[in-house]
Structure formats: C-alpha cells, structure tokens
C-alpha cells in the first residue's frame, strides 16, 4: 500500500492500454471506412495483444494500488490472462459471425464494448474495495446489457437484453444495499480493513448475514448461481452467439474472481494460519462453507437436470454453464488454496471447452442456420471435422479423459476429497454422470442420426485452424497438464496473504 497515486498508474498500464484502444476502436467508425468489418476488429485485437504485453510484464507483481482500491497480484494476473485470451478469441469469432452482419454499421461500437467489458472484468479481478467491486461489476454489466441486445433488429436479442438489464440492475441494487449495510456496520469499504473489523468480532452476526446475503445476490447473479441464475438461459439464447460465449467465460470468471477475493480477504483469519498449509480459517459466526456448499449443489444439480430437457443448443450450453458454476463453487467450499487452484485450473479448461463449443454453435448457425440440437443431425457426416471438434468440446465439458475437462474436474474433486467433503464429491460426480446424458445427446444427433443429404460442407482452412487451436490444448493439456497446474498453484497468491 505504499504506492502513491502517481506510482499506481504504473500498475494499471494494461487497463490504460485497453482504454486507449477502446477509444481507438470507436474512432475507427469515423475513419471513413465506416462499414469496414475488419478495421475495428483488428484494432480490438491489437488492443488485446498490446495489453497482453503489458500484462506479461506484471508477472510476479504483488501490489495494492490506488489507496488499496485495486490489487495487482498473481491472482488477478491469472484472470487477466484468461480475459485477454477470451477477448482475442471472441474477436476472432465475431469476425466470422454472420449474425452480426445485421448490424454491420456498428462494428466499432461492438468491439469497443467488448473491450470495455474486458476492462471491467480486469477491475473486478483486482477489486479490493467494495466501491471498486460495485463499479467494476457495473461496468461489466452495462457493457453486457448492450452487447446482448446488440443485434437489435432481432426480437430475441432485445428480449434478452431487457431481461438482462432489469435482472442485473435489480441484483446489483441488492448488492449495493448490502454494501451500504456493511459499510454502516464497519465503517470500512476496503476489504482488508473489513477483515480487521471482522477479526475483532464485535459485530451483530444477523446484520452481517443480511448484508452478506444481499451481496451474494449480486455476486451470484454474475456467476449465475442458483437461485440467481434465471437470466442466464434467456440471455444466452437471445444474445448473439459470440456474446453468449463471451459472457459465459469472461463475465463468469470475473464474478468468480471477485467472489473468491472478497471471501478470502474479508473473512479469513489471517492470524490463525493453521499448521496445514493452505487451509483457511473463517471467522466464527457465519457458516460460509454450508451456504456455498448448498448453493453449489443446487446450482449444478438444477443446471444439469434442466439441461436434460433443452432442445436449443445455446440454451443447453447456458444450463451447462450454470452447472459448471456449481462445479466451480465446490472449489470454494473447501476453503483451501488447493480448492482455489483447482478452480483456476478449471477456468482454463472451461475457457477452452466452452468457447470451443460456442464457436461450433456459431459456425453451425452460420452455415446451417439452426441452433436446434436436431439441426445437428448427421453433422458428423456432413462436416466431420466440425462435428469431431464439437465432440471433443462436449466430452471435455463432461469431464471424460482424454480431455482437459477431466483434469479440471479431477482437481476439483481432489480438493474436496482432501478436505473430506466426500458427500459433495459424490454429488459432484453424480452430476457429471447426469450431464453426460445431454452432452451426448448432441453427439448422438451428430453421429447416430444419418443425414438425408450427405453432401459435405467444408468450413475452410481458417475455421479449421481455429478449431484445431481450440481443440489441441483440450487434449494436449490432459496429457501434460503440469504447466497449467503449476500456473494455477502460483496464482492463488493474493496481495497481503502468504
């Protein structure tokens, strides 16, 4: 916290770069070639890449900047990489999207919103002040409201957008109210300071609970945990595929980053680091473990069960992403660094497989003009490579070897077993069995249903390359996951906690 404001600017260079490119991207709209599809996309890509360079310079940085508002530490670094990779991929997806052609006059706005959402996500990952948390959350939210309704000629997108905005604004309102109560109780907005107040233990538990539950509504909505998940399927279905994909990774990851940081910094008894390394000791009074465990079970079970009945691919993936939120929450239940590192691992896997799946959905929507699962009939014969790729992604989502999804789940369950949450582990694995059913349903349509028309549709070299790029790590990282694991383990470090 020794950073002055001036010095602090040195630590937000990536965000600054992104902001600059946000403006540059917007400006491309004015640069004469208003209809150009590629210029704004290129600008956005460039922005992500340049920001990436600066992010990479931050390896190992562990600082709290802007008077304790914002933490630049390995933990946020991890998420920043996730956001950047997602951003880059989404931009590439968007270039290929036919859906967005309907709004071809607004590419610049579209890409700048993507950048702005990413900036918000950056800040969410590092926010260590309640105000900062709220503001960054809103930045992400507002960007996503617009993005989800971006194809505004499409009524579905409009509907998604209005639902999202009402639901989101309401949830963040609840969260803000919760923050206000917390502020009233403690007089602090900085979560490090909150920690000390909690440590003193002189608070009304009931009021704290009210505040925390209200805050949970806001956080839960961002990560789409039951019962705050309701917007998810509608928005994912209505929004353009690229946006759904973007939301499903960046927005969710940012939410998780914030959740984890908030919990870990505010509620851990730092003074009582136990003998067993990595175990957290939570202040007495609130049984976080149980709340989160219950949320986790509800989330994954509901997500999986409802997904069984979906016929729209995007909606299916929406429920699947809800279920994955449930799996991820399991990591938090353990209240150990190991659980967190498992979650981080899972994010890598989730990024790869979920984006992959959405990508294919987009490709299929482009060529076959369908989002229905039945529309995938015989895809394995018509476009074998696409079908193969989707199969890999879906099995990865299920968590079956030889895919990276398996390693992700493995480490989550390992963390649970380690901390003797056997029952939760069993619920988790049973859920993954249930999930197999609907993932395989898609595979079934692709391969087991013979198409009437077997004429081949090839997607071209670029697309195939893109699929390969997404697919290869899905398998390769299963065979050799040391780097990811190592990265995840290093990334558990947050500022102020050793």
């Amino acid at each position: 916290m020794a950073q002055t404001i001036y010095q602090s600017f040195g630590y937000v260079l990536p965000e600054a770069v992104l902001s600059i490119f946000l403006i540059l991207t917007l400006l491309t709209a004015l640069a004469g070639k208003r209809r150009s599809k590629y210029l704004p996309a290129f600008m956005a890509l460039l922005g992500f890449v340049v920001a990436g360079v600066f992010v990479f310079q931050q390896i190992g940085t562990d600082e709290l900047v802007f008077s304790g508002m914002y933490a630049v530490d390995p933990f946020s670094w991890f998420f920043k990489i996730i956001f950047l990779v997602t951003g880059i991929l989404i931009v590439i997806f968007s270039i290929q999207s036919r859906e967005l052609d309907a709004v071809s006059t607004k590419y610049a706005e579209y890409y700048s919103l993507i950048i702005s959402l990413t900036i918000g996500a950056f800040f969410m990952a590092g926010a260590s002040n309640l105000l900062m948390m709220y503001l960054s959350l809103e930045l992400v939210s507002i960007s996503s409201y617009i993005l989800s309704g971006f194809t505004k000629e499409n009524p579905r997108a409009d509907e998604a957008s209005i639902k999202y905005v009402i639901y989101g604004a309401f949830s963040s309102g609840l969260m803000l109210y919760g923050i206000s109560i917390l502020y009233g109780l403690t007089g602090e907005l900085n979560i490090y300071a909150l920690n000390q107040v909690f440590a003193s233990g002189a608070l009304s538990q009931l009021t704290v609970l009210v505040a925390i539950v209200l805050m949970l509504a806001g956080l839960g909505y961002k990560i789409s945990a039951v019962p705050f998940h309701f917007w998810t399927p509608d928005v994912y279905e209505g929004a353009p595929v690229t946006v759904s994909a973007f939301l499903s990774v960046t927005s969710k990851a940012a939410g998780f980053a914030m959740l984890i940081r908030f919990f870990k910094i505010a509620f851990i008894n730092v003074g009582a680091q136990p003998a067993m390394a990595g175990m957290w000791v939570i202040f007495h009074g609130l049984n976080w473990t149980d709340i989160i465990a219950v949320l986790s079970v509800l989330t994954m079970t509901l997500g999986n069960l409802v997904a069984l009945w979906q016929s729209n691919m995007k909606r299916l993936l929406a429920y699947s992403s809800i279920a994955h939120a449930g799996y991820l929450l399991m990591g938090l239940v353990t209240l150990t660094d190991q659980g967190i590192s498992a979650m981080l691992m899972y994010f890598v896997a989730y990024l790869l497989m979920n984006l992959g799946a959405f990508y294919i959905v987009m490709l299929v929507a482009n060529r076959y003009h369908t989002e229905d699962i039945e529309g995938y009939s015989g895809l394995g014969y018509k476009s074998p490579y696409v079908a193969f790729a989707l199969t890999v992604f879906l099995f990865s989502l299920t968590g079956i070897p030889p895919t990276f999804g398996f390693i992700g789940k493995l480490y989550l369950f390992a963390a649970l077993i380690r901390t003797n949450y056997i029952w939760l582990a069993i619920v988790g694995v049973l859920n993954s069995v249930v999930s197999l059913y609907y993932y395989v349903k898609v595979v079934r349509y692709m391969y087991l249903v013979q198409p009437e028309d077997r004429s081949r549709i090839d997607f071209g070299f670029g697309t195939n390359l893109m699929m390969t790029v997404l697919m290869v790590p899905n398998i390769a990282l299963m065979l050799y996951f040391s780097p990811v694991l190592s990265w995840a383990e290093h990334s558990v470090l947050m500022f102020g906690l050793r």
Partner: protein, 703 residues
C-alpha cells in the same frame, strides 16, 4: 516299476489313444478317406487284442494289485506357510480295470463290426464312426483313470459322445430332444458327483483314489461328510447308470441307432456308473451303501414293471437294462462287490447281444420297432432268433448261462444282507424282479419271433441279416455261457473272474462300516493231517458273518430264483403264446395299473410338470424381471411402478432395485419440474431470486 509293468502302462495308453486317433482322423479327414469305417473298426480290434494281452498279464501273472502311473498335471505352487495346490493325474491298471478294458474294447469292436452292416448308407456314416471312436476313448479313459478328476473328465466326455450319438439322426426332433435330455439329466447327476469331488478334494487335497483312501483311512474325512461325499459321488452313478430317479433319459436314448444303444446304453456307458461305485467302494459308508442298495432295488423294480407293458422292442430292452443296472447297483450296495461287478461284465455281453439282435430284427423289418407289428420271425431269421433266446435265458438267470452265475451271486448277497441287516425289502424286490425279467423277456421273444406275422408286407421282405451283423451276435452268444467265467456252472466263486475280483478293504472308520465288515471271524478248516504237526494242514480262513451267511443261504437262494425265473417264462408263454390268459382282458381288468405302468409311472410327466416347467417358469420370470424391473427405469416408469408395487411386499431387494431405477426416473422428472420455473417473465425470476435470498437468510440465521 518292473519293465513289464511299464510296458503294460504304455500299452494301456495305446489302447486309450487308438480310438481317439481314429476320431481325429475321421473328423478332419473323414470325407477324403475311403473306407474310414474299416480303419476305425480295425483300430478297435487292435485295441481289443492289446487289451486282452493286458488283462491276461495283469490278472494271471502280476501279483501287484495295481500298476499305477501318475504325473503332476497342475502345480500352482504355494507360499511359505500355505499349502501348495497341485493336481496329480494318472492311469492305473488293476484287475477290474483290466477286465473292463477287454469288455469295452470287445463290445466296441463288435458293435463297430455290426455297424458296418447296420449303418450302411447312412448320411453321416463317417461322423458316426468318429463319434464311436470318441466314445470308446472316453469310456476307456474312465476305466483306466486312477483319480476322480480324470474320471469326471472322461465321464463328461462319455456324456457328450452319448449326446452326439443319440442325436445322430438329429433331423428328427425326438432324437435331438432325447440327446439333450440324456445330457441334461446326466448333468444333474454330475452336479452331485461334482460336489462330492469337491468335498473329497477340499478335505484330502488329492484326486487320486489311492490318496483319497489313505487319507480317509487316516481319518481326515469321516462322519456325515464322508457319507455325504459317498452319496454325492454316487449321484453321478445315478445319472449315468440311469438309476431312479434319474432313469428317465435312457428309454428316450433309444432314439439313437441301435448299435449305439447296444454299445453305450446297454453294455458300457451305463455300466460306468456301476464301475464308479466299484472304484470308490472303499470309501462308502454303511449309510451310503444302504442308500445305494435301496436305489438299485427300487430302480430294478420300477423299470421291470414298466418293461412288462412296453411294445417298442428297444424300449423293453431299455427298461430291462435299467432294471439290470439296478441289480448291479443293488449288488454293490448290499456289499456283494464282486457279484455286482461280475454282473456288469456278463450283462455287457448279453445285453449288447440283445440290442444287436434287436437291431438285426429292426434292420430286417425296415426300421420297424413296434413288436405288435412283428411276429413269426423265427424261421426267417434263425441266427438272430437263437442268439436272442440264449441272451434271454442268460438275462433271466437260467443255469448254464453267465447271467445265472452273476445274478445269483447278487441275489444271494441281497438275501444275506437282508437277513443280516433286517432290510428284507431288498431281497424281496430282488426276487420279484427275477420273475418280471423272465416274463418280459419271453413276452418279447414270443411277440417278435413266434406266432403269426402281423405286418405281412414287412414280413415278406424280412430276411436274415448279413454276416457282419450275425457274427458279432454269435460271438456274444458264446460269451453268454458260463464257461468263460467259471468252470462250475452253479457256483462262480472259484472261477477266474471272481478269484481276481475281490472286495477291497473298506477304509471308512469302523463305526461307519457295515457291522459285519469289522466283526472278523476266524474259521479253521481241517486240512489233511500232516505227520508230526498238530493241525499242520489246517487252513485259517478270515471270514465274517456276511460270508458265512452267504455260504448258508446260497443254495436256497439259487433254487428260489430258478423257480421264479421259470415261473416268469411260463407266465409269458401262458399269456402270449398259448393265450391261456387273454392279455387284453387282463389289461382291462387292471387298467389303472396297466396305464400307470404303460406310462412309465408318469415320471416324464412329473418331471415335465415340476423340474422342467419350474425352471422354464423361473427363467421366463427372471427374464421378464430383468427386462422390466431392473431395466425398468429406462424403459418407462409406468411398468416400473406397477412391478414395484406388486413385488414390494415380497422381496426386499426388489424394492432396492426399484428405488435405484426410480431415482433415475425421478431425476428426469425433477428436471422437467424445475424447468417450468423458467417462465420467461423477468419479474418471476426476480421473485424467485428474492425468495432465494430470504430462504438463504432464514436457513443460515441459525448458524
């Protein structure tokens, strides 16, 4: 091992493997070799010659009771402090094995010869010979085996070759049914046999007879378990030797070609059961032996009564076979070991003869088997007729025949046993069956060969069978005379056969023996005075009350049986030849009894209604259960709940299964239910979220 013994073992192995070689040759190259039949037959004659050599050597020149050759077949090793697991197998030649070798190869060779004529032109001629070879191999294996395991192995092989041969004309449903029935019924017996073997092995850790006997002698296996083991092993014999209650397969097995019936279902295979009892005789307790005796007696009686009413020539012979096997089993059961085995040998000859002769008749009558269609064949087929008469006399126990010698030994044993032990029923049945045997045999002869021909057309075409068929008959007829077994036509005790087949010493604990087996008595027989030594010529004879009783009642028994046999023949003539008694009227008068007997005591129906139907019902139920209950979840909840409710009261684990399936179905339901919450209205969502907040709050307030 002396050189001659080594030679004998080698020869025995040769005998064993010759038919197998034939089998392999015919199976793989049957189509390409001409006159395969002669090859196979020739092999059998070679085997016969060797067997005779072995027998003569063993019985007359080698004093050692047994020549044994054992090798380690399996060695699973062991750990320190844990006994190793090994299986030793081998072959052994003792007197009964040597004699059986000859019996088997002889009958087999003759049947091969006979088949040259009988089976000529059959569609699967070479296959037939191949199977005969396989059978001979297996049967010789049983004979030579010195352990229970190998015995069981060959036992099963015999079963399978019997299956193949019964079903030789498998285009006929009845033939394939009969084969199947034979195999399965045998398997039921083998089930017991198998458990018996397991008891023996787990207690004594060996399959070798010698090891088993010495182990029992040392007391490693005794008491009820020993009795159980004996009885269970006997179960195998019950199956194979068609003893009550597993006798039902043998009559059906007559669907096979007649020479097969002669070889397998009269002379050798069915005798394997008896041979098995003889093999394990030392380990049978008194209780087991008593059970065996009763089983034999009951079998003998039931089948004799059935035989009286049957009209199919082969069926009569089949029941007669069962009846005679009952005698043998009874003989062993009543401790008349030698007599039982003796009857096995003599029966082999004359029963094979009977079947071959009937085969000759059937051949002549163009595969007509119903005696009511025959008659008057005496003149047309003199050789067949006369040999048939000789065989019948032999089986009826008329003096000068071999059957007389062996049967009377058994009956005398039964009588002695009955008197000593108080089980009077056994000798009574034994003698009753003598009467019945004589009666049904001569009923058969009269209906077939005497009187007027009933089917004139077939009669016209009937003629004496060719030489290849009659010569075996003549050979067997000769073997039905007493001289081959004993020079004394009335008492076989001093004959070479009984001299060489002595009852082995029982090894069971003495309290489990027949009382007389351990009450030894020493008799001193006055010999010629020798100068200087008092009693120097006296012979001390070890004997026991049983032997003494035998001595005492021998002639009484003999006269009784002779009387009954004559009575039986007389009755047959009275009814069927001279028609002094009207058979039809008699039939009418005792109609229920007649029907009962004619329908074979309704055994097939009984088994059909219970065991077979029960198993099928069970299997259908289980299959249904499998498809609907266990698999119910995926196939629809409706059937599941129905089944669930109907079973819930009865079987606990059905409920558990039901629950498992129910949960799968419920999972789907839950998903369907919860998705209704997603109404599409954002305000509903908000309400749910609020409810969620409130619920979370209230639930966790307590903590």
């Amino acid at each position: 091992m002396a050189p001659i013994e080594t030679t004998l073992i080698q020869l025995a192995l040769t005998v064993l493997l010759l038919p197998l070689a034939g089998f392999v040759l015919l199976i793989f190259f049957g189509k390409r070799i001409r006159r395969q039949d002669l090859i196979e037959t020739g092999l059998l004659f070679v085997a016969l010659a060797i067997s005779i050599y072995i027998m003569v050597q063993k019985v007359f020149f080698i004093s050692a009771p047994q020549i044994d050759f054992t090798f380690r077949w399996l060695d699973l090793g062991g750990m320190i402090g844990r006994p190793g697991f090994t299986i030793d197998l081998g072959i052994a030649i003792d007197n009964i094995a040597a004699i059986m070798l000859v019996v088997v190869t002889l009958i087999s060779a003759l049947v091969h010869t006979f088949s040259l004529g009988y089976m000529q032109g059959d569609v699967r001629y070479s296959r037939y010979y191949a199977y005969l070879g396989l059978f001979s191999f297996s049967m010789l294996g049983i004979v030579l085996s010195n352990n229970l395991l190998l015995m069981y192995v060959f036992w099963e092989l015999v079963g399978i070759s019997s299956y193949l041969l019964i079903g030789h004309w498998y285009e006929k449903k009845s033939a394939s049914d009969a084969g199947k029935k034979a195999f399965i019924v045998n398997r039921i017996g083998d089930f017991g046999f198998f458990i018996g073997i397991m008891i023996v092995f787990t207690q004594l850790h060996t399959f070798l007879f010698s090891g088993i006997f010495s182990g029992i002698a040392q007391g490693q296996l005794s008491g009820p378990l020993l009795t159980a083991a004996g009885i269970l092993i006997f179960c195998g014999a019950v199956g194979k030797s068609a003893q009550f209650p597993l006798h039902v397969w043998l009559p059906d097995a007559m669907e096979g070609p007649t020479p097969v019936s002669a070889l397998i279902h009269a002379a050798t295979m069915v005798a394997a059961g008896v041979y098995l009892i003889a093999r394990v005789f030392p380990m049978l307790t008194a209780e087991a032996l008593t059970l065996i005796a009763y089983t034999g007696a009951i079998t003998a009686f039931i089948s004799a009564t059935i035989a009286v009413t049957q009209n199919d020539i082969k069926k009569v012979l089949a029941y007669s076979t069962i009846s005679q096997l009952g005698y043998m089993v009874m003989g062993l059961g009543v401790d008349a070991y030698s007599a039982g085995f003796f009857h096995l040998v003599t029966h082999a000859a004359f029963k094979a003869g009977l079947f071959l002769a009937s085969g000759s008749v059937i051949y002549a009558m163009h595969h007509e088997q119903d005696m009511r269609q025959m008659g008057g064949l005496r003149k047309k087929m003199p050789i067949t007729y006369w040999t048939f008469v000789i065989f019948s006399l032999s089986i009826s126990g008329i003096p000068l025949t071999s059957g007389f010698l062996s049967k009377d030994s058994i009956l005398a044993g039964a009588l002695a046993y009955g008197l000593l032990s108080g089980n009077y029923l056994i000798p009574i049945i034994g003698y009753a069956v003598v009467f019945l045997t004589a009666m049904y045999m001569f009923r058969l002869i009269i209906m077939t060969f005497h009187g007027e021909p009933r089917d004139v057309h077939k009669f016209e075409h009937a003629k004496e069978s060719p030489k290849v068929m009659t010569v075996p008959l003549i050979v067997l007829a000769m073997l039905s005379f007493f001289v081959f077994y004993s020079f004394n036509p009335l008492n076989p005790d001093k004959g070479w056969l009984l001299e060489s087949v002595k009852k082995p010493e029982s090894v069971v604990p003495s309290y489990q023996k027949y009382s007389w087996d351990f009450l030894h008595v020493q008799l001193v027989e006055k010999g010629a005075e020798q100068p200087g030594v008092t009693g120097g010529g006296d012979k001390t004879i070890n004997t026991n009350p049983y032997e003494m009783e035998l001595e005492r009642i021998h002639y009484t028994g003999l006269e009784l049986s002779l009387f009954l046999a004559s009575l039986g023949i007389l009755t047959a003539f009275l009814i069927y030849h001279w028609k002094k008694i009207d058979a039809e009227k008699l039939k009418q008068r005792v109609k229920p009894l007649y029907n009962f007997l004619y329908n074979k005591w309704y055994f097939d129906e009984l088994y059909g209604a219970t065991a077979v139907a029960g198993t099928l019902f069970l299997s259908k139920t289980f299959a249904w259960f499998d498809g609907n209950v266990i698999d119910g979840a995926v196939n629809g909840a409706a059937s599941l709940t129905r089944v669930w409710s109907s079973f819930s009261g009865k079987f606990d684990h059905y409920i558990v299964d039901g629950l498992v399936n129910f949960s799968a179905w419920f999972t789907g339901l839950l998903g369907r239910g919860t998705r209704r919450v997603q109404t599409g209205r954002v305000q509903t969502y908000i309400i749910f979220a609020l409810i969620g907040v409130i619920v979370i709050f209230y639930v966790f307030k307590q903590f």
